[in-house]
């Protein structure tokens, strides 16, 4: 299955990408996606603090992903 991964702020700068499509085994978890990202993009591994959102909602590491999900890597926020 494929999910779209979005990067922002420091995550975007480290990966040099604001978005990428990632191929994953069926029912892979957020955790599995992150491990795949870290090995494929060593500079992403330098991002040491972030949350993950799936389809616009903060998600647990154990959450299973589905075809077409939009996953976002959310570094510490600082709006306002």
């Amino acid at each position: 299955m494929r999910v779209t991964v979005k990067f922002f702020a420091l995550g975007r700068e480290l990966t040099g990408r604001s978005e990428m499509v990632v191929e994953l085994p069926e029912a892979a978890t957020v955790q599995a996606l992150l491990e795949q990202l870290k090995s494929a993009h060593p500079r992403f591994a330098q991002l040491n603090s972030y949350l993950v959102a799936v389809n616009l909602e903060y998600a647990e590491m154990s959450a299973p992903l589905h075809e077409g999900d939009e996953v976002a890597i959310i570094p510490p926020v600082s709006g306002g």
């Binding site: 979005k6 420091l10 909602e57 570094p75 926020v77 600082s78 709006g79 306002g80």
Partner: protein
């Protein structure tokens, strides 16, 4: 009105969007770009957002405020892009029948927005650029 915008924010528009005829009080918060931060001189700030999720989170925060206080109408506008000193990054306006609720709800919305809305700012200062982490 809840918006993430690259345009300059017009305060009056946000206040107008929060207007409710049964309310006697409007509390407004403006977040502006300071010239100094953490002891450093700032040249400008750069805001970036995940706009769909930021708008969704802010809508949820506003709904939460409406449950806690007698909020009739609320509006939030958050700017993204490059901002100079003195420019407005965020405006929040809240209408309530009584003023205590307006202040409490407005403060709640900005506090929660800073905690959970996926919006980031980079300080461009004399010694370089830094993504701000207020929670570190």
């Amino acid at each position: 009105m809840i918006e993430i915008t690259a345009e300059k924010i017009e305060v009056q528009k946000v206040i107008d969007a929060a207007y409710a005829p049964e309310c006697g009080a409007v509390a407004v918060f403006l977040g502006t770009v300071r010239n100094f931060s953490r002891g450093k001189q700032i040249y400008r700030l750069e805001y970036e957002a995940y706009p769909e999720m930021a708008a969704k989170k802010i809508r949820e925060i506003v709904e939460e405020a409406k449950k806690k206080w007698e909020v009739k109408q609320a509006a939030v506008s958050h700017r993204v892009g490059k901002l100079e000193i003195g420019e407005i990054a965020v405006v929040i306006a809240v209408s309530t029948p009584h003023r205590q609720h307006a202040f409490q709800a407005c403060q709640f919305i900005i506090d929660r927005l800073k905690e959970v809305a996926p919006i980031w700012k980079k300080e461009v200062a004399v010694d370089g650029e830094t993504w701000v982490d207020d929670h570190a």
